[in-house]
Amino acid sequence: MAIGDMMMMGSGLMGSVLAQAAPPAAMSDVHLAHYLFVACVMFVIGLIGFLTRRNLIIMFLCTDLMFQAAGVALIAFSRYHLNHTGETFTIVLITVAAAEAAMALALVVLLFRKKESLDAEEWTELKG
């Protein structure tokens, strides 16, 4: 739960920063491209983490990182187009992510109980 809250707080914080920092006028040097670059970096970090790590919890964190990267991109565009749909959608996204985190961590606990390990490679039951 604590982790989920943290993530929520983190993303909220980022959202507010973006909101302040992205007026259409070129008041500062921060452009849409910068936001998108941040989102992209977040996504790639998450992706690399997901692909390289074997610990289920870390992998889960990485997926959430990718999730939030998508949120950043959504808000950046929302701000860019002066359309609030993206921001609204990000709120939904955050909510869903919270619920999902709760579910996922519960599952991870169950899996851990089965094999006493958090290694993702232990689980290959879907092999064709």
Binding site: L47, L51, R54, A120, E121, W123, T124, L126, K127, G128
Partner: protein, 749 residues
């Protein structure tokens, strides 16, 4: 039971329908151009159907006996009774037919067996066609001749068998007589059929009975193999016959003799005019096909090998089926369809050569055998060759007369051999028997054997065999095209006289000596072990039966039959001897086997029917020459196998054997014909069958399975992609994303 009903139904049907069916045909002359006696067709008396029906009745009754598990000699008596009835009916039929004008052919309608009516466009005109094969009888003098000796001998041999088979009383006895009666029924169908398809029914029917009876001792593998061999080799011939029937149908539009003979008439006219090229090739193919059937059934080259093996059957069967009646079916077929055989310039010469070569080959094998029953079998093959040659050198009378006389004396020879076999525990080796004829109780057998041997050897004047053989020889030499055939047959006659009397001098006269066979009852090797005669075993073999074996002299039934046949063999002499063929000539001359001697076949073949034999009339010269040849054969046998012989096992002939080198051994091994056939026909066929079997399994079914496995195989090749590991999937997704990104970028650029 149901068959009986069907048959009765047929009778009723026939009684009502036959008269109007045939009466309008009466008086229509068919063979007007073909022979001295025109053939006319008329409806025959219905009682003729009894000739066929009575043996069938016997068969059904024997079948009922088998169902009722009868354990007495009842089936034998039923069979003898029915067959005797059949003989009497035949006799009545003959007498009534005899009163008709010569050349009358009666057609007795039974019931419609196969009938198809249809329409067909020929040259834009719709014509009606029909394929008709009735269960109808064709009674002419040839039929009468054949049926008289078939039913007569069948009755006698059934009587003989009632004693001979007595050790099998019970289911085996029932089975034997059922098949025996069925055989007579089939033979009657064969001989009396009014169309080729019904003949084919009889033809295969006798083949079936032959199969069942050769394999009578079914626990003995050799008997089973012999039965199978007989059936299959006959089937090869049957295929030829079937094709001949089809050709007949396609060409003449009918398989009925009446129609065929009528439609042959123009061809006969062409023949008489010397225009053989007027006869289309298709018609000339017919006899070539039919003769294959005849060669199969009558055990001629190249299909003769089944007959010697057929001796595995009980001896009465050998006597009736494999000597007197069934094997003459081929001769009958040719005699019956003689006009067809005259239509081809190749047919009769082929028959002549096949017959002559078979006669010689079988005689050489017969000379070297030791099993007396086998010797008789080979002599049957040889004599059948004679009959074929006889028909083919244009003496259908001689061929038929030889069938007639041969039926009597060969049946007698077999029955005498059977009596020996019955009495000496299956002993058939002529090296182990001697002087049987002078043993107490064996006098009748000895005399019958002597009479039979004299006939077979063609002893001059007093034997019927002499007269019938002489007709064939004389005609062969009289025909300028057939001189070579004549010489082969003459040589064969000498060999025949030798090997016949070899048997007689070794087994029936000379010092008394015997070693019993190893079975209680001759034929049933193999199935009787364990409760056979104890005295047939232990040292019984080596000590000429001194250890308690007593020859078991024949009883009244066997003796009566043998005596009757011995008398009959002399009674029939005038029937074939008087006036160049006598009664048989009248019979054959008024049938379909007649032909006009002036017919153009001879012109076409550039032949001459009155060739001189070294300046003498061939017929008269042959009387003398064949007598001398026969007597020389007998004399050689006398010197080698009788004179001074003191033991059963050896004779003076043994000393001569080295002079022949390996030839004697080859002849004793039947010239390795069986081995040859096995190597060039059976083994390749078996190999082909194995190849097909594996081809089917691997290639054809393999292809099917291949198509079945293709989807599964395709799936299998993609299977590793589904590793079940989360990271693999993730990499796949990332990779896919990357690819999509690259594609998007490329497209956008």
């Amino acid at each position: 039971m149901m068959t009986l009903l069907t048959n009765t139904h047929g009778l009723m049907h026939a009684l009502s329908g036959a008269a109007l069916a045939v009466s309008d045909e009466a008086g229509h002359a068919a063979g007007h151009a073909s022979g001295p006696v025109a053939q006319t067709f008329a409806a025959g008396p219905m009682f003729g159907l009894l000739v066929v029906a009575l043996p069938l009745l016997a068969c059904i009754l024997c079948g009922l006996c088998a169902m009722g598990r009868v354990k007495t000699k009842l089936p034998a008596f039923l069979t003898v009774l029915c067959l005797a009835g059949s003989f009497l009916v035949t006799l009545a039929l003959y007498l009534q037919h005899h009163g008709q004008p010569a050349g009358t052919a009666w057609i007795i309608q039974g019931f419609e067996w196969i009938r198809l009516d249809y329409r067909q466009m020929v040259d834009s005109v719709v014509q009606s066609r029909s394929f008709i094969a009735n269960f109808g009888l064709y009674v002419d003098s040839l039929t009468c001749l054949w049926m008289l000796f078939v039913t007569g001998l069948a009755t006698l041999i059934a009587l003989y068998a009632s004693e001979y088979m007595s050790h099998d009383v019970g289911q085996g006895y029932n089975r034997f007589f059922a098949a025996f009666s069925l055989f007579v029924f089939s033979m009657a169908c064969l001989v009396m059929a009014d169309n080729l398809v019904l003949l084919y029914l009889g033809w295969e029917g006798v083949g079936l009975c032959s199969y069942l009876l050769i394999g009578y001792f079914y626990k003995k593998p050799s008997a089973v193999a012999a039965a199978k061999k007989a059936f299959i080799l006959n089937r090869i011939g049957d295929l030829g016959l079937a094709l001949g029937i089809m050709l007949c149908y396609v060409h003449f539009g009918s398989v009925e003799y009446k129609v065929i003979f009528e439609k042959c008439a123009p061809y006969m006219a062409s023949l008489a005019a010397g225009q053989l090229d007027q006869i289309p090739l298709i018609a000339q193919f017919i006899p070539l096909c039919l003769m294959i059937g005849a060669f199969g059934k009558s055990a001629q080259l190249p299909l003769y090998v089944w007959l010697p093996d057929a001796m595995e059957g009980p001896t009465p069967v050998s006597a009736l089926i494999h000597a007197a009646t069934m094997v003459t079916a081929g001769v009958f077929l040719i005699a019956r369809t003689y006009p067809l055989f005259l239509m081809s310039e190749y047919a009769l010469p082929i028959v002549a050569w096949v017959g002559a070569l078979t006669a010689l080959l079988a005689a050489t094998i017969g000379m070297a055998q030791f099993d007396i029953k086998r010797i008789m079998a080979y002599s049957t093959v040889s004599q059948l060759g004679y009959m074929f040659a006889g028909l083919a050198v244009l003496t259908s009378v001689g061929g038929a007369a030889h069938v007639f006389t041969h039926a009597f004396f060969k049946a007698m020879l077999f029955l005498a051999c059977g009596a020996v076999m019955h009495g000496f525990a299956g002993q058939l080796d002529l090296r182990k028997l001697s002087g049987v004829g002078s043993m107490p109780g064996w006098r009748v057998v000895g005399i019958a054997m002597l009479v039979g041997c004299l006939n077979l050897a063609g002893f001059p004047i007093i034997t019927a065999g002499f007269w019938s053989k002489d007709m064939i020889l004389g005609e062969a030499f009289a025909n300028s095209q057939m001189q070579a055939i004549g010489w082969i047959l003459l040589l064969t006659a000498g060999l025949t006289a030798y090997y016949t009397f070899r048997v007689y001098f070794r087994v029936f006269v000379g010092p008394k000596h015997y070693e019993p066979g190893d079975e209680h009852h001759g034929d049933d090797h193999g199935h009787d072990h364990g409760h056979g005669h104890a005295d047939g075993h232990d040292e019984g073999h080596q000590t000429s039966g001194k250890h308690g074996f007593h020859p078991h002299a024949p009883g009244w039934a066997i003796n009566t039959v043998l005596a009757t046949l011995a008398v009959a063999a002399f009674v029939i002499v005038p029937l074939v001897a008087l006036n160049h063929g006598g009664w048989v000539k009248d019979m054959v001359g008024a049938s379909s086997a007649q032909f006009n001697e002036k017919a153009a076949y001879l012109i076409a073949a550039k032949g001459d029917l009155h060739t001189k034999f070294f300046g003498f009339d061939a017929h008269k010269a042959m009387m003398v020459v064949s007598s001398i040849v026969g007597l020389i054969g007998i004399a050689v046998a006398f010197v080698l196998h009788y004179q001074g012989r003191t033991t059963a096992a050896t004779s003076k002939a043994d000393a001569l054997l080295p002079a022949f080198g390996p030839i004697a051994k080859w002849a004793q091994n039947k010239w390795y014909v069986d081995e040859f056939y096995n190597a060039i026909v059976r083994m390749p066929l078996l190999a082909l069958a194995q190849i097909f079997h594996w081809f089917d399994k691997l290639v054809i079914d393999g292809l099917v399975d291949f198509f079945g496995w293709t989807p599964r195989g395709l799936g299998g090749s993609l299977r590793p992609a589904q590793s079940g590991e989360m990271h693999t999937y993730a990499v796949g997704m990332a990779g896919g994303l990357a690819v999509m990104a690259v594609v998007v970028i490329v497209v956008l650029m």
